[in-house]
């Protein structure tokens, strides 16, 4: 069943990513495709394109995938990962300009209701300062 937009949570810290995913699971439930990743391949703080690609795959939905990120490198690595996807998938993955924890809960709630990828992103970004 992939009738809901998927959510990827990406932090420099694996613990932040896991904790954020726990909040989404407990508050919104398990009906939304969700994955998380964090840390560099050496186990330190950071992000990795390879892990992001795997996370996108895990949360994949034909309706698309919204990625929630924390700091700068997470966004640029997400963009690199998106560029490496199959062309037909590239247009269905977006990075949300929203705070990671709040944005993930908002995005997942919107996704739960069956909203489009664009609506999921807009809901997460409603939180951002103008």
């Amino acid at each position: 069943m992939t009738d809901r937009v998927g959510i990827v949570i990406l932090s420099h810290s694996p613990d932040v990513a896991r904790g954020t995913a726990d909040m989404v699971r407990q508050m919104v439930g398990c009906d939304v495709p969700l994955s998380f990743c964090g840390g560099n391949p050496d186990g330190g703080l950071g992000t990795s394109v390879e892990k992001i690609l795997k996370a996108i795959d895990e949360a994949w939905s034909d309706k698309g995938v919204a990625i929630l990120v924390d700091l700068g490198g997470a966004e640029t690595n997400s963009e690199m990962a998106i560029e490496m996807l199959d062309p037909d998938r590239q247009a269905r993955v977006v990075v949300c300009n929203a705070p990671i924890v709040e944005g993930a809960v908002m995005a997942a709630t919107e996704a739960w209701g069956g909203a489009s990828l664009e609506d999921v992103r807009r809901t997460a970004e409603e939180l951002s300062p103008p």
Partner: protein
């Protein structure tokens, strides 16, 4: 399906008010209905979209606030009944909701 409208109000008794988790529950329940559903903390409004998680959470309604619901659409009466029931039972899970959601 004939269109109808419904309204109702309920006292918010949840200790910490309409904080994060109750907001998500309220929004998810609202989204499970087709009708347009709004709520307000005053009968004069402003009315906000009960299906918008960001707007619901932003109301920050406190304990002892009366929440006013109004809905229009085919399942409006059921929507208002379900939402007021959710608030009445202090946002606890209910099997009837699980079936719709």
């Amino acid at each position: 399906m004939t269109s109808s409208s419904a309204s109702g109000s309920v006292l918010l008794t949840h200790d910490v008010g309409l904080h994060a988790r109750p907001s998500v529950k309220l929004t998810k329940l609202a989204k499970s209905f087709k009708s347009t559903i709004e709520f307000a903390v005053s009968p004069e409004g402003p009315w906000i979209d009960a299906k918008s998680i960001v707007k619901v959470m932003a109301t920050k309604a406190k304990k002892d606030t009366v929440l006013h619901f109004r809905a229009s659409g085919g399942d409006a009466p059921a929507a208002v009944a379900a939402l007021t029931s959710l608030v009445e039972r202090d946002f606890k899970e209910n099997h009837a909701d699980a079936a719709t959601g």
